[in-house]
């Protein structure tokens, strides 16, 4: 049942989901890699705990935003216990739509606040 829904239906994304998708935009990662990348993206503001990370991944798997990968991209660091995740085509469209939505929100906010900031 791989029904492709329009990406807009899944918006807005929660911050952890958005940043996990962004992390996976650069390629496949395992849990720890995702966590490190999200911390880097947000300047350390968003630290994903294990429960948050795997709870989000569970829901994202169910929504077909990500999938588990069988390949081991980094043999040096490989460990049987590590699971790798990659973004699906739907995930790519959803994160792009969310980025556009956020950009729109930022533009609107800037236009409103321009006078006050100046």
């Amino acid at each position: 049942m791989k029904k492709t829904r329009p990406p807009e239906e899944l918006l807005p994304l929660t911050p952890p989901v958005f940043h996990i998708l962004l992390a996976l935009a650069g390629g496949e990662l395992h849990g720890y890699g995702i966590m490190q990348d999200v911390a880097r993206q947000t300047g350390g503001a968003l630290q994903l705990g294990p429960g948050t990370l795997y709870g989000c991944l569970k829901r994202m798997l169910a929504a077909h935003l990500v999938e588990e990968s069988d390949e081991r991209p980094d043999p040096a660091l490989d460990d049987q216990r590590r699971r790798y995740y990659r973004m699906t085509a739907l995930g790519k469209r959803v994160v792009r739509a969310e980025a556009q939505r956020l950009a729109g929100a930022v533009t609107a906010a800037m236009a409103r606040l321009a006078g006050e900031i100046a």
Partner: protein
Amino acid sequence: MISQSDPTATAAFCRLYSLLLYAYPREFRREYRAPMEQLFRDRCRDLARAPGPTRLFRFALHVLRDWFNTAARERAAVWSAGRKPARRSFVTEWAGTILIYLFATTTLVQAYVIPTSSMEGSLLVGDHILVDRIAFADPGPLGRHILPYRPIERGDIIAFLYPEDVRETYVKRVIGLPGDRIRLENGQVIRNGRRLIEPYTQHIAPYPDPYRDNFPLSPGPLTTPSGLDMFARHVRNGEVVVPADMLFVLGDNRDDSADSRYWGFVPRTCVVGKPLLVYWSYDAPTDDLEHWSVDHAVDVALHFFAKTRWNRMLLVPRSRLALEAGGAR
């Protein structure tokens, strides 16, 4: 965990975290336990590289908050998924409802309607009442301590199976307990030689009736077989003496009530329970309430709002203690 030279502390924290993982639902644990432990170990290793007491504290706080929130969230997800109607078939859904209904209506409460005016003053014709079946049900030696059981007392309103025809349920007030001596003089009850002042009663005698007002004289045409038995075996010196395991009951509408004066005592075993509250009161004639008819259904549908006595809604019928005046003779 604080320094690299302390791997035992790291191991201890990891073991503790493994225990915390039991808070998650089983399915989630089976799927993600290993990677979550791995991630936790990685975080510990990071911390060991750059130790510091506040960092350790912040990390512990962060992990605990993450654990608490997400465990609750995953549990809630499992719970709400289990409650999805699509997951249960139509039959199981209704079976549960029916089982609860049967249990509640046979052991906890039961609904009755008051068809006659014999308790008028306290309960009106058309009062729909819920009867608490636990209150007076003897729960045995163990249940006595757990259930809200209490013995029947004088002044209690009780619902009971009419001894002459157990298909009918009556509601009356208890006047005499086993051993009590009862008589009526000019419509007033004299119990154990003391005149009762009963503010809850209603006397609207359309005609005087010596049988009704000066009880017990001698059996009359309305006396039923068990009433005759009471006259024959339990009248002593012009007073009825309530035998063991029996109750003497009277209606509050004292002049228009078929009660123990006419059909004798209520066996303790016939008591159903204690009227709990009036959940609906509808102004309708006795006949309509005793026998269901299409006309009555139509009447309810058309006049539901006008004929419902809203002021009686959720009324609680109370036990009332009669005042005992001085000696009557």
